[in-house]
């Protein structure tokens, strides 16, 4: 994919340029239809140059979020180099320092010593519906390698989902909401760039290139602007906060200590790699028994959470609150049946 990426970007820019030229000749002396949005976005997206390592490229994109030089970008190896340089849309270059990192959202806040910069307002993305125009402004493949503004591409909002992704065969830490788009932004250097609506308002920050666990394809997505705003709030609440550097170290998350709710079932967990959650036995008078679950039922979802394997089911059950009834969808022979199940406290 990375092979044809630059060509596509260039082709699209060329196409766009041609169409705009036609439009300006026939339609409006003021220029193209998305001019205002494009200009607004390009003035607020910067190019980043830093360290590189193996497959990780030493360049990226960032968005200006304050007139006094605050820039948000995606966490990346390029920030860990000896130098980190920001190139503004007007061509000026500044050294940058890292003010805060967010390992979960995979974001970083940078500071440069500049003032009076045009900056994005972090308003919201909820007004967007699938099919609405989006423009990506970023520097994929560092095509904009001089002082010029970054590349723009046009597409629509595809939809929204929660991220379930891998990067380099490892689970990607961010699992929150994302905007999906049909603009191809899963390209080297695009991470940290802006996704704006047809008016040039920031709606999302292009995330690091990841592959979806659900489709196993590269995902074209952005963190909603609300997540970027939350990151800024959290980092300004604790100014100077920077999580300890853990480059190269594996981050171990603390496991929840809450007791596992008890359903009273045993699964056909016969081993193998990913056995589906078939019910083998139901303990009489248990929550599952009261819900009407029977042996040989296959559990499809619990509390709205799809489960495909026994492991999925255990994970989903761990999230349940004892005493709160939840829908349990099962397959029984050739029928899909919805039961109601109330988990109980685990027996000591």
């Amino acid at each position: 994919m990375s092979g044809k990426g630059p060509f596509l970007t260039l082709a699209f820019v060329a196409l766009c340029g041609a169409a705009l030229a036609v439009a300006s000749a026939d339609v409006s002396p003021a220029g193209g239809p998305f001019d205002a949005a494009i200009e607004k976005a390009q003035q607020r997206v910067v190019k980043l140059y830093g360290g590189s390592l193996g497959r990780e490229k030493g360049y990226g994109s960032g968005i200006v979020v304050s007139a006094d030089g605050k820039i948000v970008t995606a966490l990346s190896i390029l920030l860990e180099g000896r130098t980190l340089r920001v190139v503004l849309p007007d061509g000026r270059r500044f050294p940058a320092r890292i003010v805060a990192r967010d390992r979960h959202r995979q974001l970083a806040l940078l500071q440069i010593d500049a003032f009076g910069l045009p900056c994005f307002e972090l308003k919201g993305s909820v007004h967007l519906r699938p099919g609405d125009w989006l423009i990506a402004a970023a520097n994929p493949f560092k095509v904009a390698d001089g002082p010029e503004p970054v590349s723009v591409s046009l597409g629509v909002l595809s939809g929204r989902t929660r991220l379930a992704a891998r990067r380099h065969a490892q689970d990607f830490p961010y699992t929150g909401p994302v905007l999906l788009t049909d603009v191809i932004v899963a390209t080297a250097g695009s991470a940290g760039g802006a996704l704006v609506d047809a008016d040039g308002n920031l709606v999302g920050l292009i995330g690091k290139a990841v592959t979806s666990k659900q489709t196993n394809t590269w995902l074209n997505y952005a963190l909603p602007v609300e997540e970027v705003a939350a990151f800024l709030r959290e980092s300004s609440a604790e100014p100077g906060r920077e999580e300890p550097k853990t480059v190269g170290a594996k981050i171990i998350f603390a496991l929840p200590v809450a007791p596992r709710p008890n359903l009273g079932i045993r699964l056909f967990d016969v081993g193998g790699r990913q056995p589906p959650p078939y019910v083998e036995r139901v303990r009489p008078d248990s929550p599952a028994w009261h819900a009407g679950l029977r042996p040989n039922d296959l559990i499809l979802s619990i509390d709205g959470q799809q489960v495909v394997t026994c492991a999925d089911l255990r994970k989903a059950v761990n999230k349940l609150r004892p005493g709160r009834p939840v829908p349990l969808v099962i397959k029984r022979r050739e029928e899909v049946v919805t039961l109601e199940l109330t988990p109980e406290e685990p027996s000591p």
């Binding site: 629509v156 049909d182 196993n216 394809t217 799809q306």
Partner: protein, 408 residues
């Protein structure tokens, strides 16, 4: 200017009947501040109605600068309306169990081909008939799942039966025990034009509403006539889902097609700006056959052909080993159906089913729409005499040596 999202029924007819062309993507606008709200809300309808006179007034002056905000806004509303129109016919498919996916190395040894083995999300299907037939892509069942469920737009979930797969067209037919399902409107192949808007939608990302991508029809007659080509993003996220027009009419069913011989290899073209959908005419004819419950395979004749292109500009004195210009010469002793029908090496095939075939693409076009078991009328020339024969196409399986076809 105040404006609100409108329902498709509120759109002026002009815009729903005349597809906006690609240039329309560049309509200029300042966007209306619309707040999230239900399209069905009375408020939206009232506001929308209030909007229409001003839209209509601008239509006469559609090229003026002042209309560009409306045009752009309008396009978004049309996209939303198109998705709403087709949405009830899009179903989510979940598969459970079956052979666990095994990594497949790139057949060409290129090493760069993606290996689709770890996807565990849902896939997409399209309601084909009110009595429970669902058309989708065979890509979604590569793992041979033991259980398939289908979730309708209204949330009802059914256990589905995989009736049969169509290997050449990458389709699959499912059946659920349901009645009165919302069938989408279809667009016939002859109504398709390159450049018309095309949207693709699919459930692969797992959220409640399908994800949509917007593009145009790039070509109507690709992959030997099996598929419509589009630059809307077609990927595992929407294989089996519809490609549809601005009115929500189905153009085709999204499938992986590409340089490979199977679905996995073909899926590597996703995100390239080149996507494919099987047109509704072909889907209709294939569904008829899939209903019988037998998988459809590529149909082969059993001939090997001289595929050299004729050299132009030869003089009568030049050597005469020149491929024929009016057909394709059989260059080795035929096997299977062709041999049974009496064809021999050196015969020149001039027509298949009455259609002239002078080059390999001609032949592929005729064969692409046929499958193993279909009859094929062959017109051929042998020593200046034109003859005809009818043979029955067979699958590649028929040519394998017995050892290879033994039960696994």
């Amino acid at each position: 200017m105040k404006c609100a999202p409108v329902n498709s029924t509120e759109l002026p007819h002009k815009h729903s009947e005349v597809p906006l062309r690609r240039h329309g993507r560049h309509g200029r606008a300042t966007r209306c501040a619309s707040t999230p709200q239900s399209f069905r809300s009375t408020l939206a309808v009232i506001t929308a109605l209030a909007c229409i006179p001003s839209l209509a007034a601008q239509d006469g002056d559609a090229v003026g600068t002042g209309s560009q905000p409306l045009l752009r806004q309008h396009q978004q509303q049309v996209f939303r309306a198109a998705l709403r129109a087709v949405r009830p016919s899009i179903v989510r498919i979940d598969t459970i169990g079956g052979a666990q996916p095994v990594g497949r190395a790139s057949p060409a040894g290129g090493g760069g081909a993606p290996v689709f083995r770890q996807a565990d999300g849902p896939t997409t299907g399209l309601i084909w008939s009110a009595d429970g037939y669902i058309i989708t892509s065979s890509f979604n069942f590569i793992r041979d799942p033991s259980i398939i469920t289908v979730t309708l737009h209204d949330g009802r979930r059914f256990v589905a039966k995989l009736i049969a797969r169509d290997r050449p067209a990458r389709l699959a037919l499912l059946k659920i025990e349901a009645r009165g399902l919302p069938v989408p409107r279809l667009l016939a192949r002859e109504q398709l034009r390159p450049g018309q808007w095309a949207l693709a939608a699919g459930c692969g990302h797992g959220s409640d509403s399908p994800a949509v991508s917007v593009g145009i029809v790039s070509a109507v007659d690709r992959m030997s006539g099996l598929a419509v080509q589009t630059d809307a993003k077609v990927s595992p996220a929407n294989y089996g889902g519809p490609l549809f027009d601005l009115e929500g009419r189905v153009i085709g069913v999204c499938v992986p097609m590409g340089p490979g011989e199977d679905e996995i290899a073909d899926a590597q073209w996703y995100d390239s700006g080149i996507g494919f959908a099987v047109d509704t005419d072909l889907v209709r004819s294939r569904v008829q056959r899939l209903k019988h419950g037998r998988d459809l395979q590529r149909g082969l004749m059993g001939v090997s052909l001289d595929t050299r292109a004729p050299v132009v500009g030869l003089t009568p004195k030049d050597p005469v080993d020149q491929p024929p210009t009016d057909g394709m010469r059989i260059d080795a002793e035929p096997r299977g159906p062709a041999a049974d029908a009496g064809l021999r090496a050196g015969d020149v095939i001039t027509r298949l089913d009455g259609i002239p075939v002078t080059r390999l693409p001609d032949l592929r076009r005729v064969l692409a729409r046929k499958v193993a078991g279909d009859p094929l009328a062959v017109t051929y020339r042998r020593s200046q005499k034109v003859r005809t024969a009818t043979l029955t196409l067979v699958s590649a399986e028929a040519f394998r040596k017995p050892a290879a076809t033994q039960p696994k």
